[in-house]
Each structure stands twice: as structure tokens, then as C-alpha cells.
């Protein structure tokens, strides 16, 4: 039951707000403001951290946690089940395969990288679909309704979106794992730090918590073509650029599929939805039920139009 406690997120290296990642985000911010004093007042202002939107994020974080634990996790198929199905199907279709070529170390390296890439790729597309498919956008709007960004905004996600990301996780991780088990048997593992994929760990300590913040930390033009910087994700949260920078860690997908926006191309950031829409997301009740209401209203309108 200890694990079923929202504050466990702070001590769990698999969570975005693990204390080490928060600590490195603060350290990066200090260094950043040492060289760029502009915006320093905002980040230290109680108006930011106690803004109604930020407060709503804090409350919603706890509520959504219980929704996830008691309503979503029980229904999301596990990555293990998917892996088992994939592996079994490969085994039944192509019979047993024995790896005699790759060493244990190489297999670990390939598995670590494959998990990361497939996961990041599927994350990009699901995120893009959440914006481009009108039905899904109603749910993803909840995340974009944050007027100010704090690391906790990461968890301002509608349960339906949580469900989709849970499925994405199971399918992508399960697929990669099932294929690797088929080819390499029990000798699969990942290079990890504190039990986290080492690649993910490195990006997490490099300011992942600044993605939802007002610290416009950029990696510089060259690196941003490959990896999404905190500033690039802030650009994605800016009203005029919702359709840019869908990427999680790699900017490669945005580049390949034409949705990349570099930091230097955007000067002013305006977070949140349009003013009239913002009024629709002012309470926890709104965050959970408004998307359903809006979808229902839309449907009724469409039906009427059809008539």
C-alpha cells in the first residue's frame, strides 16, 4: 500500500518529479538566471506558484492519482501481457530462434536503445493525434488549459488521455520486449540508473521538469534539431504553436514529420487556451467532466445540423 501514495512520486526515480530531477532542474535554473536575469522575478513570484491555475494543478495531481490507481491501472493491459503475446506468436509462427551472434552486453545496449526510441516515437504520434483528432483534442485541451506552467502541470492530464498513454506504453514496450525475448531469450536487460533506462535518466536530470516551467532554457539551435529542450516544449504550450514540437525527448520526429519549432524562432510565449475557453477549466470537476460535456454538445449540434 506504500506505493499507493501520491507523494511516492517524489522518491520514485521512474516519475518525472523524482527529487533528483527536481533538484537538477533547480540547479539548471540557478545557472540559467545567473547569466539571464530576464524573467527571474516571475519564477520567484508567489503569483506564479500560487496562481489559481497552479493551485488547480496541485489539487488535481492528487485526485488524478487516485483515478489512475483505482480506475485506470486495473483496466490497462500490461506491457508484460503484450510482450507475452508477441513472443508467443513469434515462437508459434517461426519456431524457436537461438541467438549465437550477439553478446549479452550488445543485447542490453540494443534493448535499451530500442525501448527508448520506440517509446519516444509512439509518444510523438499519440501526442500529435491528441491535437489533430478533434475527439481526442477535447481531452488533451485539459492539459493545455494551464495558464501557468509548473512541473506539476505534467500531471494535468485527463483520465482518458492517461488511459491512452497507458495503452501506448503497454503496446510499445510490450512489442519491443516480446521481439527481444524471441530473439535473445532471457538475456535481456537494460542499462539503467536507479532502475530507470539510462537514456531516460540522463534526459530527466537535464531539466525535464523545466519543460513545464517559465524558465526558457534552450539547448541551442544545433542540439534542438535532435533533442527537445524545455523552451521548445514551452513553445508547444504557447497558444500559437500547439501544432509544433510534439516530441517527448527526440526532436527528430518533429523534424521528419514537419512540426519542429526552434527556440530562437519564438520570442513571446502565451500559455493556456483562448480566453473564452479558459473559463471552462477552472475546477477539478471541469477538468474531469467538461470534455464529455463539450463532446456531447458538439454531437447534439451535429445531429441538429444533419436534420
Amino acid at each position: 500500500m506504500n506505493d499507493l501514495f501520491a507523494l511516492e512520486y517524489i522518491i520514485n526515480p521512474n516519475k518525472r518529479i523524482f527529487w533528483v530531477y527536481i533538484f537538477t532542474a533547480i540547479a539548471i535554473s540557478i545557472i540559467y538566471y545567473y547569466y539571464n536575469s530576464r524573467g527571474k522575478r516571475v519564477i520567484l513570484s508567489s503569483k506564479l506558484w500560487l496562481h489559481p491555475s497552479a493551485k488547480l494543478d496541485y489539487y488535481y495531481f492528487f485526485i488524478s492519482y487516485f483515478i489512475k490507481v483505482f480506475m485506470l491501472i486495473p483496466i490497462v493491459i500490461s506491457a508484460k501481457s503484450i510482450a507475452f503475446l508477441v513472443n508467443k506468436q513469434l515462437y508459434l509462427q517461426f519456431d524457436y530462434y537461438e541467438n549465437t551472434y550477439f553478446s549479452y552486453e550488445v543485447v542490453i545496449l540494443m534493448y535499451t536503445i530500442s525501448l527508448f526510441i520506440v517509446s519516444d516515437f509512439s509518444r510523438y504520434w499519440l501526442h500529435r493525434f491528441l491535437h489533430t483528432i478533434p475527439f481526442l483534442w477535447e481531452f488533451h485541451k485539459v492539459h493545455h488549459s494551464a495558464k501557468v506552467l509548473t512541473p506539476i502541470t505534467f500531471y494535468r492530464v485527463h483520465p482518458i488521455e492517461n488511459l491512452l498513454f497507458g495503452l501506448r506504453y503497454s503496446l510499445s514496450i510490450g512489442l519491443v520486449t516480446g521481439v527481444f525475448v524471441y530473439f535473445f531469450g532471457a538475456m535481456i536487460d537494460i542499462y539503467s540508473v536507479l532502475g530507470v533506462n539510462i537514456i531516460v535518466f540522463v534526459f530527466s536530470i537535464l531539466g525535464s521538469n523545466l519543460r513545464h516551467s517559465h524558465v526558457p532554457f534552450s539547448f541551442g539551435q544545433r542540439i534542438e534539431k535532435w533533442f527537445i529542450s524545455p523552451k521548445q516544449h514551452q513553445i508547444h504550450h504557447s497558444r500559437n504553436f500547439f501544432n509544433k514540437n510534439y516530441g517527448g525527448t527526440l526532436a527528430l520526429w518533429d523534424r521528419v514529420f514537419g512540426t519542429l519549432k526552434l527556440s530562437k524562432e519564438v520570442k513571446v510565449l502565451k500559455f493556456g487556451l483562448r480566453r473564452n475557453q479558459m473559463n471552462e477549466y477552472k475546477s477539478i470537476f471541469d477538468l474531469v467532466f467538461k470534455p464529455f460535456k463539450l463532446l456531447a454538445v458538439k454531437n447534439i449540434k451535429n445531429i441538429k445540423k444533419g436534420n
Binding site: 521512474n14 516519475k15 518525472r16 506491457a79 508484460k80 510482450a83 507475452f84 513472443n87 508467443k88 515462437y91 519456431d95 524457436y96 537461438e98 553478446s103 549479452y104 534493448y111 525501448l115 527508448f116 517509446s119 509518444r123 499519440l126 501526442h127 491528441l130 488533451h140 492539459h143 505534467f154 500531471y155 492530464v157 488521455e161 492517461n162 498513454f165 497507458g166 501506448r168 506504453y169 514496450i173 519491443v176 520486449t177 516480446g178 525475448v181 531469450g185 532471457a186 538475456m187 535481456i188 536487460d189 537494460i190 539503467s192 532502475g195 530507470v196 533506462n197 531516460v200 530527466s204 525535464s208 519543460r211 516544449h233 517527448g248
Partner: protein, 314 residues
């Protein structure tokens, strides 16, 4: 019904054990098996007869069935192929050994290829006809010496592993299960399926000449030995081994399934005589059950590997 083996096998599970399953297996099973094979090789060198060859062959099969040295030290990945080339050689070894025997070259020169110094080559030299000539004796002794040298290497790898700081237990267990899976696949497909016409390669095409030890008629003996090796690793009445470790990890039912599959395969092989594979369908099925029991368990170790930060959005 396909069952999943060893539910918690890959979790750290040896709270009550003094040593890991691999350490215990190396000490109590692998090293004694290698030593036994070296001793049997000595006996065969002294007296090149059918019984001594059978003993030597049976002990070697137990070493080969659960061969870990290549994973422990990559330099020894190919050692089994220096001893045994069954299913790993495209050329006709018997034809080549015929020429080696007929040749007037010095024994060392005549046995210039690795495959000429294997147990398969030895079998031809000893069993190509009823008589063992002086030259065949000299060749046999040289082959056995070469095999013994590789066996000593294997023993050294195992002994050194016991002296060194062991690797992660998770790695050890993964290696054991991969070895068991691969071993049962070869047993099912190569050693039983190919001669009996049950393998995908030779469907309904029975040919006893494809059997592992067709010349000396020791193929069923070899199969029994391989099953014995699996029994040593999984039978819970023996010293601390993989079966016991799995049971401690909460996989009693699954271990029993493996044990039953081994038992059934032994019963099936005992029913067959004279190295005749024409009625080996049931033996093939029982070996398949054993392979499946091991293979389908692999998935259980996934929970520890796939963690990606938060399954939420961004």
C-alpha cells in the same frame, strides 16, 4: 495449456540460500560431470572398447547439455564444437575420416582439422568396421587427448568462476534458462525430430542415419544422458539447483511441470530400442513439451526491464 514457468525466478530469491543456483550447479553438477568425462576419456584411452566409448559419450552429453563456459567466458564459446560437431558440419565427416585412416601421414598431421578431433570423428574411427587397427588406435588416442584438453579448459572456466566475484544473480539465472531452452530445442529438433521425421526440416521423412550416434548405436543413450542432465538441474531431491531456487521463488507448479516432462521423455526413450526412430513420435512430443515448459517461462522476467519514465502524457 501453456503454463508460464518460474513466476518470480528473476527476482532476488536466495535469501535462505548460501549460494546462487549457478554456483551450486557448477560445484555439484558441472565440475563433477566434466571430471567424470575426463576420467572416462582416460579409461577409453587405455581400453578402446564399446562400453568405454558409451560411458565416455554419455558423460560428455551431460556436460554438453548444460554448457555454461561459453557464456561465462566468451573465449570458450566454441569449445563444444571442438569436441562435438553433430549438426554443425556441412561436410561428410565419415568420408573424410576414411581418408585420414587410409593416409600414411603422421597422426598429428593427418588430424589437421578441428572436426577430425571430435567425438564424431572418434566414433567413425572406432565403429567404421568391427576391427580397430593399430593406426585407428593411434588416431583414437590422439583424438581423445584433444578432447581431454578442451574438457580441462571447461573445468578451469568453471573452477575460476567459483573463485571470482560472481556476476549478478539475474544474469546467472537468465543464462541458465537460455541454456536449458537451447538444449531442449536441439534435443527435440536435431536429435529426435530429424531422424524420426518429426522436425520441420524432415517432415515425415524418417532416416535413422540422421541420428546422432548412428554408427555406434548410442543415440538413445545420448538422449537419456541429456535428460539426466536436465534432471540434475531441476530435480528437487538433488543438491541446491535451479529447480529448488525456482520453488523458493514461488514456482512450484511450474517446476513440477518441467519435472514431469523430463520424466515422461525418459519413459518414452526407454520404450525405444536399437536406435530405431521410426516410432519416436511420442518421444518427440515429450521433448517438445519440455522445451515449451522452459521457453514460455522467459517472459516472466520482463517486469524488471522495461521501465520508461511515467506512462503519462506531455
Amino acid at each position: 495449456m501453456k503454463k508460464i514457468l518460474f513466476t518470480l525466478m528473476f527476482l532476488v530469491s536466495t535469501i535462505f540460500a548460501q549460494e546462487t543456483a549457478l554456483i551450486s550447479i557448477l560445484k555439484n553438477i558441472s565440475i563433477p560431470n566434466v571430471q567424470n568425462t575426463i576420467n572416462n576419456a582416460d579409461a577409453l584411452k587405455k581400453d578402446l572398447n564399446e562400453q568405454n566409448f558409451k560411458k565416455f559419450l554419455k558423460s560428455w552429453k551431460k556436460v554438453e547439455a548444460i554448457y555454461f563456459a561459453g557464456e561465462i567466458d566468451n573465449d570458450y564459446l566454441d569449445s563444444p564444437r571442438y569436441i562435438d560437431v553433430f549438426h554443425n558440419l556441412k561436410e561428410d565427416l565419415n568420408e573424410q575420416m576414411k581418408r585420414v585412416i587410409a593416409s600414411k601421414d603422421d597422426v598429428n598431421i593427418a588430424l589437421f582439422k578441428n572436426s577430425f578431433k571430435t567425438i564424431n570423428a572418434l566414433e567413425y574411427v572406432l565403429f567404421n568396421d568391427k576391427e580397430i587397427t593399430t593406426r585407428e588406435k593411434l588416431l583414437s588416442i590422439e583424438i581423445i587427448k584433444s578432447i581431454q584438453s578442451h574438457l580441462n579448459d571447461i573445468k578451469e572456466v568453471y573452477t575460476n568462476y567459483l573463485k571470482q566475484k560472481p556476476k549478478e544473480e539475474k544474469w546467472e539465472n537468465a543464462m541458465i534458462i537460455n541454456t536449458l531452452v537451447a538444449s531442449t530445442y536441439r534435443l527435440k529438433e536435431w536429435r529426435i525430430g530429424d531422424p524420426s521425421g518429426n522436425s520441420s526440416k524432415y517432415k515425415d521423412d524418417i532416416d535413422n542415419k540422421r541420428a546422432e550416434y548412428f554408427l555406434s548405436k548410442n543415440s538413445f543413450e545420448a538422449i537419456t544422458s541429456i535428460l539426466d542432465a536436465h534432471d540434475e538441474i531441476m530435480n528437487t531431491s538433488n543438491s541446491y539447483n535451479f529447480g529448488k531456487m525456482a520453488i523458493e521463488s514461488g514456482a512450484k507448479a511450474e517446476v513440477m511441470e518441467v519435472q514431469n516432462a523430463i520424466k515422461n521423455a525418459k519413459i518414452e526413450v526407454s520404450k525405444l530400442k536399437n536406435d530405431d526412430f521410426s516410432n519416436a513420435k511420442e518421444l518427440y512430443n515429450s521433448a517438445k513439451n519440455l522445451h515449451n515448459a522452459y521457453y514460455l517461462s522467459l517472459i516472466e522476467q520482463l517486469s524488471v526491464t522495461a521501465k520508461i519514465l511515467d506512462a503519462d502524457g506531455d
